[in-house]
Symmetry: C2
């Protein structure tokens, strides 16, 4: 029942406490902590014992202040609740952790106002860099104002609006949206579809524009006409997709297939189709984008494009870490390729 330690119960243990405890200077303890070869072995052992005894925990904030360094990286996501971003985040955190960085999390819920607030708040913590998947409609000027020109930023997934040469110095990691959507469209065409819609997303989102371009490209290459009512916009989530489903069938000819902006939208569309008595995967073909975990488990399983979000997370972290190494090198634009995963949701047209 003896007291193991006579340290005061409150107040944190600092370098000085350790130094006093074993009659060396603070500088020496500091050297021990950082594993410097300068300290003698006897001293090192003594200090290490004392560290253990007193239950010392390193104060990285103080060290960072003195050394003018940072050991954190901010991760700002437009929608953490979306499994695609959750997996991405987990990849980022994993890779950053291995490199000795800690992740400062911020999620914006697609709100530009929150994005501004979150960026401001995170910057005050002095991250070494940031990874940003912008909220819809976020623009370069505001982000630059919040982040400043000194801190490296990696843009993921979406472009910012209003980019100018001055702030185009950011690195990027984007998905090959156009090629992905083209692959999906070509796949549907190969199955015999002629009336193919592009469903979901907003026109002012860069990723949506790119995917739509891939769709258009494939349609034109196959000399297929595109009706205006085959382009239905909706927010990139399930709920709005269900609501907008009807719009697909307002005009003639009605589409027999749809390339969807992403998986969430595709899953929503499925639900909407069921509600109208149309069975997806039998009466109507559709494809998604992202290959979130539930895509393989939906009814029917969803044909989609896989981007392996966890791997993208690791990649994003690595790109940013490289940037920290070489702050002056030219900005990099990385395009991650995507692969078509064919599942049961993409059926041949009923007529064929």
């Amino acid at each position: 029942m003896a007291m193991e330690s006579n340290a005061p119960v409150h107040r944190k243990i600092t370098l000085s406490d350790i130094a006093a405890g074993c009659n060396v200077s603070r500088a020496t303890v500091s050297l021990v902590l950082r594993g410097s070869p300068l300290v003698g072995k006897r001293t090192r052992a003594r200090v290490e014992e004392e560290l253990r005894q007193q239950g010392y925990v390193y104060n990285r904030a103080a060290a960072n202040l003195r050394r003018r360094t940072s050991s954190s990286i901010a991760l700002v996501l437009n929608d953490l609740a979306n499994p695609f971003f959750a997996e991405f985040a987990s990849g980022v955190d994993e890779a950053l952790g291995e490199a000795g960085y800690v992740t400062l999390l911020g999620s914006t819920g697609e709100s530009i106002a929150r994005e501004q607030a979150v960026l401001g708040s995170l910057m005050e913590h002095g991250p070494a860099g940031l990874i940003l998947s912008p909220a819809e409609g976020s623009d370069a000027a505001r982000v630059l104002a919040a982040v400043g020109a000194q801190t490296p930023l990696l843009l993921f997934n979406r472009e910012l609006g209003g980019e100018t040469p001055e702030n185009a110095h950011w690195d990027r990691l984007m998905l090959d949206n156009q090629r992905g959507a083209r692959l999906a469209t070509e796949h549907l065409i190969a199955l015999g579809h002629r009336h193919i819609a592009f469903f979901g997303g907003h026109r002012d989102s860069s990723s949506c524009r790119e995917r739509h371009a891939g769709y258009t490209e494939a349609m034109q290459a196959a000399k297929l006409p595109i009706e205006p009512h085959w382009r239905v916009e909706c927010a990139p989530n399930r709920l709005d997709a269900v609501a907008q489903c009807g719009a697909l069938f307002f005009g003639t000819p009605a589409p027999t297939a749809a390339v969807c902006y992403n998986d969430a939208v595709a899953l929503g569309l499925m639900l909407g189709l069921y509600q109208r008595g149309v069975q997806p995967g039998r009466d109507f073909a559709l494809t998604g984008f992202d290959d979130i975990a539930e895509a393989a488990l939906s009814a029917p399983p969803l044909t989609t494009l896989t981007a392996t979000p966890r791997a993208r997370g690791r990649q994003a972290a690595e790109l940013l870490l490289q940037r920290l190494q070489t702050p002056q090198s030219a900005p990099r634009r990385t395009i991650a390729s995507v692969q078509l995963v064919v599942r049961a949701s993409s059926c041949p047209p009923p007529a064929a």
Copy 2:
């Protein structure tokens, strides 16, 4: 084309720069920053203008050092890629952000070793408190060693192994696992099932034990026997669930329904059943736990227990913030209730 600012391009702007820029002392600038009523209006205006001009960003780390405060809270999760935790995280971050805290993220991927490493690393950043959803098999002694007795910790979702009176001082936010599983089991019994299995999870996980207890309770109350081979363990993810599916049908009588440890496991089991030619929701009834987003969209939609993870995230944040207010008050154990959501996966038994 005039230079707007003559500040050196590199090197961050500090209080002293501002002070020098408008001939006041650092102390005054500091007061302005914190909106103190002490400073005169003319001075305040002058300083604020200078802050804007120079693009000052507050260094919260330095302030925290001096004030011996903290503005961050660590969130350590066993599985961020699981949508349940992703939504939880997004709720936590939202509530913490509103309270002016920043979230330090750490995900452990169910590895005790990583959990130790992550906790250690996060502690060095001096969070005001932590929210921990422990990895499977994590024990109280190790967590206490990593976190210390000073920093408030809120346990979420799972209990730690090896709890002793000394480290039982942590707050807790748990789900009403037992009641939830009992409700699910009673529901299946009411549908006419007599042979009901409990599928998935590991015996040494507290949440699994509790859910299993709820299942047992309902079975016993209905005077239904339980066969040993109706208890199949597996890791709480889809993949392992698919693999273990066969084990359910090794003995007789075979179950006609299963209460699953969670949604991930239930969705995996569905897949496994399909592979054996058994159609879930028609030939076999099952229930999940968590109500992750995909539960409503699976084929068939999954009967499960909803815990509204985003709301739980907010609640966890609020509980921890309250603890920071009153460090001395007695530890709180909060049990969040869950609700049964009946969907098509829970069908009557084939015979009935």
